[in-house]
Amino acid sequence: MSATDRARRTNFLLDVTLFVICILLLTPLILLIANGFKTPQEMLVWPPTLFPKDPTLENFHKVFTETPLLRWMLNSFLFAILSTVAIVATSALAGYIIGKFPFRTINIIFILFLATAIIPFEVYMIPLYFQVKALGLLNSVGGLLVGYLVMSFGIFLIRQNVIASIPDELLEAARIDGAGELWIFWYVVLPLLRGPLAALAVLAFFQAWTAFAWPIIVMTRKKSFTIEVGLANFQSAYTVDLSLLSAASAAVMVPSVLAFVLLRRNFVEGIAASGMKE
């Protein structure tokens, strides 16, 4: 067998493996989507059926007419975009500094940034709530954003990528040529960080998109709910209206997948094509 044939066979096997793994990973979600089409009676059946015997569009209809789901998605979208911009901007610069300027003060700042990620948000959101309330930012996108302007893991990610893929020599060479620090950051470092920044954008976007603990205490008006908060509405005191909730979650998955595909195609993919530094 020639080398090309062998390569093709390996590729085929790899594809099959990947396919199987992906289907396995998606199984819970296939069930979730199926649940969206079931009547309350069919939801009761155990084990759950993968293909509804009595499919109904009633759940989706209810979800779109009785709840402001689209409004919630819009709120989440606005919030997520703003948060992403803030996080990418702060992480890019801070990550670069922490990665390439290892002074002791800077290192201490890094430890502080990382340490703040360890404490669960739910624990320190109480004092943060009072701060936001004092500023009159409750029930507004601003109040939401207060919790999502910076991301310790974002800064950390950029730091690691800066260390892994930007050689010191490159920066030194630019400095010797007389370039200013900001110029170096903007024209030398940022272009090399497009991939990680794109990945960060994806992660930041979805962090805001799926946020729950903070939005639920900051937004108390149904109109201003974000998606997860709105979805929590389908849980009544002792039961969860699972068919409605599944329909709503399935509906929300559509923009989620779209957002990922778009972000990926336009940012992450684009970099793979453009040549790597040598």
Partner: protein, 295 residues
């Protein structure tokens, strides 16, 4: 002189971010940590200082110890699964970048990361179901015994590790993919000329070169693991009349103490202990996974 200029640039550049951090993170966290030495029921005006009393009580509190143990096991378990699996998956997907399915693979792996857990959990409860779930069906098919996944104290923790890994895999794959794409091609071309095959170049070159990325995935998975909450909550709820064992985790304990038992100072003390442990573990990881340049 040059160093001085760089130092000031660094400080100035990081100042805005640090200022924001100070306001939205450092200040509330320091407030919270300060509360660990006080007693506060969230509502009253007075918060009497109690010194180390909360900490002493915590060490005798078996619910807290339970939570700490469970959480640690989940965090390390999730790390052990996520790091190798996401690296390997990313390597394979990267290798098949030119396939027209690469987009599908990346998306499929990532979607679990962003889906709402409560409706997804029902599927997981079915998968783990002792009598009717596919997992036990496979085990019995292979000749083993059906296991009570959701009720056994040990097995239920494993269920949570499964659930956590399912969601963090996509995160890890995305990060590693970017890492792979940023690897210098020249080194690999040289290795290929020397006769190294795909697997060898992966093991002896990619993995070490990706150390900084591995450090990232490792630290993040560990910290996120210690922050686990939704997964434990969702598997214990009695949707479909199938409750599971409630695995006590730290965040659950802290939230209960804050909002149900109204002992915010006590919960804050838990946070302090969590911070100390995880910070120590993080520093250890930094030590172990030093990339080139000692960073």
């Amino acid at each position: 002189m040059l160093r001085r200029k760089q130092f000031w640039f660094a400080i100035m550049a990081i100042l805005p971010t640090f200022a924001i951090f100070g306001w939205v993170r450092l200040f509330p966290i320091i407030e919270t940590l300060r509360l660990s030495m006080h007693e506060w029921n969230l509502l009253s005006k007075n918060k009497p200082f109690v010194g180390f009393q909360n900490f002493i009580e915590l060490f005798g509190d078996n619910q807290f110890m339970d939570a700490l143990t469970n959480t640690a096991v989940i965090a390390f378990g999730a790390m052990a699964v996520t790091i190798p699996m996401s690296m390997v998956l990313a390597a394979i997907i990267y290798h098949r970048t030119r396939s027209r399915f690469s987009g599908f693979y990346e998306t499929a792996v990532f979607i679990p990361h962003v889906v709402s857990l409560v409706p997804a959990a029902m599927a997981w409860k079915w998968i783990f179901d002792a009598k009717l779930g596919p997992l036990n069906a496979i085990i019995m098919g292979l000749g083993g015994d059906a296991l009570p996944w959701l009720f056994d104290p040990v097995l239920s923790v494993i269920c949570i590790i499964f659930l956590v890994s399912w969601q963090t895999l996509g995160y890890g794959v995305l990060i590693y993919l970017v890492g792979f794409r940023n690897l210098p091609k020249s080194v690999f071309e040289a290795a290929q000329l020397d006769g190294a095959n795909g697997f060898q170049s992966f093991l002896y070159m990619s993995v070490p070169l990706l150390k900084p990325i591995t450090l990232y995935v490792s630290v993040v998975t560990l910290i996120s693991g210690f922050n686990v909450y939704a997964q434990a909550y969702v598997l214990a709820s009695d949707t479909q009349g199938a409750p599971g064992r409630q695995v006590r985790v730290l965040v659950l304990d802290m939230l209960e103490n804050s909002f149900q038992n109204f002992r915010v100072g006590y919960a804050a003390a838990e946070a302090v202990i969590l911070l100390s442990i995880v910070l120590l573990l993080t520093m250890i990881q930094f030590g172990l996974l030093r990339g080139k340049g000692g960073r």
